[in-house]
């Protein structure tokens, strides 16, 4: 998906020894939004916005080295080189040792001679790397100004972490005239540097400047156009995480030192085998217990008593993302955690003075096919007619933020309908559920409505699998625990008068590791292009059963 922005100038920072003035350039293509104020909670704000930055640049995916050029060379030369080598192997073996010795000496000499050059070259490359650091940021953060709060939202590069910093107006002094709305701001690495300089003895002024909206001519050279190509999966991830916020969750309150202890656990040990999950053991009235696998080390959060009614055990993956909260430990009063269920997104809210930073973690770090079909967070949860939807949206538009009850009163619709309509808007990225205030807020993620049809499923196979499940084509799904942990799923799928036997194997982290199907797609591609629709249908059925 392509996002187009037009900023009037770049975001600038005017920094002196005694004051800092930050002017954010908002996207002028959006409805005018502006906000000017001075900061009064300097240090917590600094730490929170730094954590937000860490989320923006976070990328915990595995990046394999690029070997295409070498492979291409090898394809062209391997045969000839090998033949040549085989032909002269015995004589070459004798020649090799003295040559190697000689080469060693020459290379040592060479590396001595070239050392200054290599050092200078690497310095030059790091200069280039640093000067293009803005390219590290996938998509500029979104700022939302509401009558009671200001929000900063962002999503990580690896499509797995969401963060939202919600500041009450109490965080600011001398709030001037402001216009509510949502906009993107021009964000850069330099800006992050300036955030680090926030101190409470320095006057710090934040301004989302309204300049650009007053300029009439569109070809003013000050305008900076940005066209950012964002993968569909990225947008999909963002929507999935925000959609998950509206789901019912288990809530626990943690002491900052509990988070410290989690981080400590992960900083001191590196897992080399799976499962790489955190297991929350929740028993009513007892302290929350957290087990780190595969070491099975248990941390007891003695100051956090679980208030729920039923005992639960919830597993989460991608736990290293919790290190993003590290900076907030000294400034946070407490942390509130919302757990949706095993493998589902979780939300970690750091409660700072008059501020909340919400870290949303998707159920996985790597967004590859091994996780495909696990959850369908963008599935419509209830049918709502278009008029009701429009009425709810208009009512929310008047208030900017409201609870479902308030909107039900405003529109005269039932609470159920209002909630369903709001869930649909949340999935479409137009409304967000504020976990901390328990209200829905108007927040248009993009200037133009997002193409929900294209975003609903990550692949054609997934759409097909969903249709198969809906049509009841899957029969006799069976689950069987494997000796080393993990699951083996079997079932049959009926398609075009044919019955296909399908098998899937999940590892201890519930990732698809292997499978088979009698369909044409599988016999041609095996798992090279990911699982086929039949396998996905089986996986979805299992996931739904587990969630139920």
């Amino acid at each position: 998906m392509r996002f187009n922005y037009r900023y009037y100038g770049a975001s600038t920072v005017d920094n002196t020894a005694s004051s800092t003035e930050m002017r954010f350039a908002p996207d002028t293509l959006r409805p005018p939004t502006h906000f000017v104020a001075e900061l009064n909670k300097h240090i917590p704000f600094r730490e929170a916005i730094s954590a937000l930055h860490d989320v923006v640049v976070a990328d915990q995916r595995y990046h394999a080295p690029d070997k295409t050029a070498y492979k291409a060379w090898l394809a062209g030369n391997e045969e000839a080189n090998l033949a040549d080598f085989m032909a002269r192997r015995s004589s070459l073996r004798l020649q090799l040792p003295p040559l190697l010795d000689e080469m060693k000496a020459i290379q040592a000499q060479k590396s001595g001679l070239m050392k200054p050059f290599y050092a200078a070259r690497s310095k030059y490359y790091s200069y280039l790397y640093e000067s293009n650091r803005d390219l590290w940021i996938a998509l500029d953060p979104v700022i939302t100004v509401h009558p009671d709060r200001v929000f900063f939202e962002c999503f990580s590069q690896d499509e797995s972490s969401y963060a939202s910093l919600s500041c009450s107006h109490n965080v600011f002094d001398r709030v001037g005239d402001f216009a509510c709305g949502t906009t993107n701001i021009d964000y850069s690495e330099a800006l992050y540097g300036e955030f680090q300089k926030i101190r409470d003895y320095k006057r710090t002024r934040l301004a989302i400047a309204p300049d650009g909206f007053n300029v009439r001519t569109a070809d003013d050279p000050e305008f900076i156009e940005q066209k950012i190509d964002v993968p569909d999966t990225w947008v999909r991830g963002f929507l999935q995480v925000s959609s998950a916020m509206t789901m019912p969750a288990h809530r626990i309150d943690l002491h900052p030192m509990d988070i410290h202890n989690f981080c400590q656990q992960m900083r001191r040990k590196k897992e080399r085998v799976g499962p790489r999950s955190i297991r929350f053991v929740l028993r009513p009235g007892e302290p929350v217990r957290v087990i780190f696998e595969p070491w099975n080390e248990e941390l007891v959060c003695r100051r956090s008593i679980y208030q729920g009614n039923t005992a639960e055990e919830i597993r989460l993956w991608g736990r290293r993302r919790l290190l993003l909260l590290e900076r907030l430990i000294p400034v946070a009063d407490s942390f509130t955690v919302h757990l949706m269920g095993t493998g589902l997104p979780s939300f970690w809210i750091a409660n700072l003075p008059d501020m909340q930073l919400t870290l949303g973690l998707s159920g996985w770090t790597a967004n590859d096919w091994s996780r495909a079909g696990q959850f369908d967070l963008l599935a419509p949860r209830a049918e709502v007619d278009d008029d009701s939807k429009a009425a709810v949206f208009a009512a929310l538009g008047k208030r900017w933020f409201a609870s479902a009850d308030q909107l039900a009163a405003d529109t005269g619709l039932s609470r159920m309908v209002v909630e369903s309509a709001l869930a649909l808007y949340t999935q479409a990225g137009r409304v967000i559920f504020d976990l901390t205030q328990r209200v829905y807020r108007l927040r248009e993620l993009a200037r133009d409505p997002l193409p929900m049809d294209a975003l609903r499923f990550s692949s054609a196979a997934e759409a097909q699998a969903s249709a198969m499940l809906a049509a009841g084509a899957l029969s006799g799904p069976k689950e069987e625990a494997l000796p080393g942990g993990g699951l083996r799923l079997t079932g049959t799928v009926k398609e075009n008068r044919k019955t296909l036997a399908v098998m899937l194997r999940l590892d201890v982290d519930l990732r698809i590791t292997d499978g088979s199907c009698q369909c044409n797609h599988f016999s041609q591609n095996r798992l090279r292009q990911g699982p086929c629709a039949h396998m996905l249908a089986l996986r979805m059925a299992q996931a739904r059963k587990a969630q139920a």
Binding site: T16, A17, S18, H42, I43, R46, E47, S50, Y127, E130, S131, G193, Q196, K197, R199, D200, Y201, H255, P256, M257, D258, H260, N261, C263, Q264, Q265, R267, R268, L299, R302, R303, E326, R327, I329, P330, V331
Partner: protein, 1032 residues
């Protein structure tokens, strides 16, 4: 206008033919005024028209000019196709007479004839009888005719078929009636067809015509009309485009056309033209097969060769041994293929059979020593064309060349070479990389030796390089015959686009000219060959006597325009020599113009002409300068419309040399050049534009600016002279252009080199402009994002004194990416320490630099020049707050040096907020002196303590220091104890064992010391567990 005389000439090139027409005509409206016009071009393209008479001239002059033009074109390799060439057989030495039949052959013939004796014949089986009849036909044994006629319809169908074939070939007209009868009542189609062919061969001219006319009479009316029109083109084109064509029953029509062709040559040409492209496929193949067999029987070399070549270059259908699908049903192949409208034909096997059959026919002739072999082989070889040849390849250790998959080619021409055939004989390869061989490789070389005229004919007509290689090798072996070849014949061979033939002819020529030097005419001819040896020879001749050869303008022009670079280099020498001859440079220039006119016809003109044009420009610029200035102006303008852009560029550059001023060029031509999409041409246009008078150019600042910032480097270079000429002298021009050029620097560089060029002009011809002396401009340039602007600013900066700028500017310069600017800033700092000290905050901004040299300079500078009085706490803290760790280090060092103890507390509070671990460590060292024993101060530092103690798995030293400090402080007073207890109570739940112990220890001490302090810690007494088993 009345046409008096016209000559149509042609020049064959490898891929095409170039046509030229020269007209001599009377000018309209006057009796004694005449014109000579030329038209030249390729078929299907626009021909170029030129004239040799800008003004009408009298008849005798016109005749001379006509003859000159004709001679020129002849020298350039054109010839009149209608004129009988020297290649007529009469001019060629007669080949040696064919040897009489050998005894072996005579014995073999007698043995075959002996089989016809009644007793022997009776004893022969049916198969042998048919075979005997066939062999008689092959050997054309006329003595057997009466017996064969007698045997008609006395054996099986095959015997009749073979007898018809034999009688046709034997050529005894007496058997014609018998054949006519057999044609009518033959037992099957095959016999009837063969009998008809035999009859046609035996019948006289009149009978054939009657038969043809009868066939024609049955044709559709429109076809008859076309036929009677007698236009060969019409008949041939009919096959290409006319929709009525597809309505004809094609196989029948082809066979009829073949029969008609025996009486009318027109039909034969039409037939050959059609067969050359008709695909070999079901529906047509049957007729093609019949024609192939008829041609074989008649010994019709052209038709036989053509059809064989069509078979060889058409893929056979996949092998359908058992059956095939027809309309969705599986039908046995044998059943389907015999149907009149069969959908299958010409399988891979059929193709292989036919290819082998052709070779068998030829081989039988050759083995029998039959001279017909050569004629038939000629037909085969002439049909071969490089257009349908394959490609060289290497697969599995086998090396193939373009002819490797032509069975007949390899059998005939490579039988004695180092070639290996695959089992099927369809592909021939070598096991090592293919290298040209000197020895002859063809089969039956003695037969070829007997027919050198045939080899010569192949050299003249073949379109296949492999055939030329063979012919040249074979003919070279016949030295005596070659020595007699007339020069005119060699001339045509030299012009051959095929190197082997050209080389053969050159070797012969070389031998003829051995002692003396050839005349210019021959050199021209040798130049036109593609032989490097021939060119070398020409160059040697010329270097021996350049003065003599330079008198021939045509030769000089041909050398100057040669595609070979080393040949062109000699053109320079010749042009220098030509300067001594009056009028000769002018003549050469005219020839060059003529060459440029027509160079678009050359093969690969797009790639070859640019290099030639570049050399021509050198000639025009140096030896031919004077003549180039007087060249016909209109002709040059005409060249600007040439097809090739390199010629247009040359023409534009030539116009620059011309005596006529640039202002004489029509505005629309100049405009078209300037708007051209080709960069080189646009640059040439700009060069022309730049040569306009200064007063015209001065008013075109916008246009010049557009050229100066063009993405094409050539265009920018072309406008350079204008800049250098006008800018220093014309203040208005300078004033108009300067802001535009500066603006270009501020914008992103549209192509590499634009900024460098603009900077070159600004610091060259524009350097004296007063606007460039403004300090504000330098600041703007240096603070711009564009690299070009920075570079320009760097050039302007040394013109200013440091006092022209503020300290803020110096600091900005100290951060500039251009090293010289930073150096300048360092000098400014060094020269004005007082000013720096007065504006410390601005001056310290130099630390924001991303360059090590700036930081190193700044550290040294501030250390040396600033005293404690200059360092206010605000500045020191700002330095420590810097993002760069090295600057923070420097800041800490400055604090340690310059801060008095009185200020320490303030520093603690400020630096305590720093997020970096190093700064936290730094602060921890000052805790004791800054806030020991003061509860209020400790309270203020609580967030610092929390952030230090909350570090995850790092900052051990700081943590220990803080823990110890707090522990000690807690014991000083109850207020402090309460603060520390709060901090410790928050941290005590850590899983870090060492920390946890410290906190518990601290809390216990606090509780011991201040028992009244509430909620410090609750100690649960350990639960006593009942022993699992009671003691005995």
């Amino acid at each position: 206008m009345k046409l008096i005389r016209t000559t149509r000439l042609q020049r064959a090139q490898k891929n095409d033919t170039v046509h030229c027409e020269i007209d001599l005509c009377q000018a309209a409206g006057s009796t004694d005024r005449y014109l000579v016009n030329l038209r030249q071009g390729r078929r299907g393209t626009q021909w170029r028209e030129t004239t040799r008479t800008p003004q009408p001239v009298d008849l005798s002059t016109a005749e001379t000019l006509f003859a000159l033009a004709l001679a020129e074109r002849s020298a350039q390799g054109f010839s009149d196709p209608a004129e009988p060439t020297a290649a007529t057989p009469a001019a060629v030495p007669a080949p040696p007479a064919p040897p009489p039949l050998s005894k072996l052959r005579r014995d073999a013939d007698a043995a075959i004839l002996a089989r016809l004796e009644p007793a022997r014949w009776k004893a022969l089986g049916q198969h042998l009888r048919s075979r005997t009849a066939w062999r008689i036909g092959e050997r054309r044994l006329r003595a057997a005719v009466p017996v064969l006629v007698d045997q008609i319809e006395r054996g099986d169908a095959m015997q009749d078929y073979c007898i018809a074939w034999a009688l046709g070939r034997c050529g005894d007209a007496g058997a014609a009636v018998a054949m006519h009868e057999l044609h009518k009542r033959g037992r099957n189609d095959a016999i009837q067809r063969m009998a008809l062919q035999a009859w046609l061969m035996l019948a006289d001219e009149t009978a054939r015509k009657v038969h043809a006319d009868a066939l024609i009479a049955a044709w559709p009316a429109w076809l008859q009309e076309l036929w009677h029109g007698g236009l060969e083109d019409g008949l041939v084109q009919l096959t290409a485009a006319d929709p009525r064509w597809s309505a004809l029953p094609m196989p029948l029509w082809l066979e009829q056309l073949d029969q008609v062709a025996l009486a009318y040559p027109l039909a034969r040409r039409a037939l050959l033209a059609q067969l050359a492209w008709l695909p070999v496929q079901p529906g047509l193949f049957r007729a093609q097969r019949h024609l192939y067999k008829a041609a074989e029987m008649r010994g019709d070399a052209d038709l036989f060769g053509l059809l064989h070549h069509r078979f060889e270059t058409s893929h056979g259908a996949a092998n359908q041994s058992s059956g095939c699908h027809v309309n969705g049903r599986w039908v046995p192949f044998a059943k389907e293929v015999v149907k009149p409208n069969a959908t299958v034909a010409y399988s891979v096997r059929t193709r292989a059979y036919l290819l082998r059959r052709s070779w068998r026919t030829l081989r039988h002739l050759a083995v029998a020593g039959d001279p017909d072999y050569i004629d038939l082989a000629m037909g085969m070889l002439k049909a071969m064309s490089d257009d349908s040849a394959g490609k060289s390849a290497q697969r599995g250790g086998r090396y193939y060349d373009p002819y490797s998959h032509w069975l007949l080619f390899n059998r005939m021409l490579r039988a004695n070479g180092a070639w290996t055939a695959t089992r099927s004989g369809l592909s021939w390869y070598q096991a090592t990389p293919i290298a040209p061989q000197d020895k002859r490789e063809e089969a039956f070389p003695e037969l070829w030796d007997a027919r050198p005229d045939a080899l010569l004919s192949l050299m003249q007509t073949s379109r296949c390089e492999g055939v030329h290689v063979f012919a040249a090798k074979a003919l070279r072996a016949n030295a005596a015959w070659c020595a007699q070849l007339p020069l005119a014949q060699l001339r045509t061979l030299l012009r051959s686009p095929y190197l082997p033939t050209a080389r053969f002819a050159f070797e012969l020529c070389r031998a003829r000219f051995a002692p003396g030097a050839p005349d210019a005419d021959w050199l021209m001819l040798l130049l036109q060959t593609a032989l490097p040896d021939a060119h070398q020879y020409v160059l040697e001749c010329i270097s021996q006597d350049p003065a003599a050869y330079c008198a021939d303008a045509l030769l000089v022009a041909a050398i100057a325009c040669s595609p070979e670079e080393n040949v062109r280099r000699h053109g320079r020498l010749l042009c220098q020599c030509a300067l001594t001859l009056p009028g000769q440079p002018g003549a050469i220039v005219l020839q060059l113009l003529d060459w440029l006119d027509n160079c678009g016809d050359l093969d690969d003109a797009e790639t070859r002409v640019p290099a030639i044009a570049a050399d021509l420009l050198w000639l025009l610029n140096h030896p031919l300068r004077a003549a180039a200035a007087d060249a016909p102006f209109a002709h040059l303008l005409h060249l600007l419309e040439h097809r090739l852009s390199s010629v247009r560029v040359l023409a534009a550059d030539w116009l620059l040399l011309h005596a006529q001023p640039a202002s004489a060029i029509p505005a629309h031509i100049l405009a078209a050049l300037l708007q051209s999409s080709d960069g080189a041409l646009r640059a040439a246009g700009v060069r022309l534009f730049s040569s306009l008078p200064d007063h015209l150019l001065a008013g075109q600042a916008q246009l010049i600016y557009a050229f100066a910032t063009n993405t094409d480097a050539g265009v920018r270079a072309a406008v350079d002279p204008v800049m250098r000429r006008l800018a220093p002298t014309d203040p208005d021009f300078r004033a108009a252009l300067l802001p535009l050029l500066l603006d270009a620097l501020f914008r992103g560089e549209s192509a590499e080199g634009v900024h460098a060029d603009v900077i070159g002009w600004l610091s060259g011809p524009f350097m004296d402009a007063p606007e460039l002396g403004e300090p504000a401009l330098a600041v703007r340039l240096l603070s711009a994002r564009s690299k070009g602007a920075n570079q320009m600013g760097a050039r302007l900066l040394p013109r200013h004194a440091s006092t022209d700028f503020s300290v803020t500017d110096w600091a900005a310069f100290g951060r500039n990416p251009v090293a010289t600017v930073r150096q300048w800033a360092f000098a400014a700092y060094g020269a004005n320490p007082d000013q720096v000290r007065a504006h410390m905050e601005a001056a310290l901004r130099i630390f924001d630099s991303r360059f090590d040299d700036s930081i190193a300079f700044a550290e040294g500078y501030f250390q040396a020049h600033c005293s404690s009085a200059d360092w206010t706490p605000l500045l020191l803290v700002a330095l420590c707050d810097h993002l760069e760790p090295s600057v923070q280090r420097f800041g800490r060092a400055m604090i340690s040096t310059h801060v008095s103890l009185a200020d320490v507390t303030d520093f603690m509070f400020k630096l305590g907020q720093h997020p970096s671990a190093n700064m936290q460590l730094f602060v921890s060292a000052w805790l004791e002196s800054a806030c020991a024993g003061d509860a209020a101060k400790l309270q203020k530092l609580e967030s610092y303590f929390l952030s230090v103690l909350s570090q995850v798995n790092k900052g051990r030293a700081t943590k220990v220091r803080v823990q110890t400090f707090l522990h000690e402080q807690a014991l000083l007073s109850e207020d402090i104890g309460a603060i520390v207890a709060r901090i410790f109570a928050r941290q005590v739940v850590t899983v870090a064992i060492a920390d946890k112990a410290q906190y518990i220890e601290g809390l216990r001490a606090i509780q011991d010391r201040y028992p009244n302090l509430a909620d410090v810690m609750t100690i649960h007494p350990p639960r006593t567990l009942a022993p699992a088993r009671s003691a005995p």
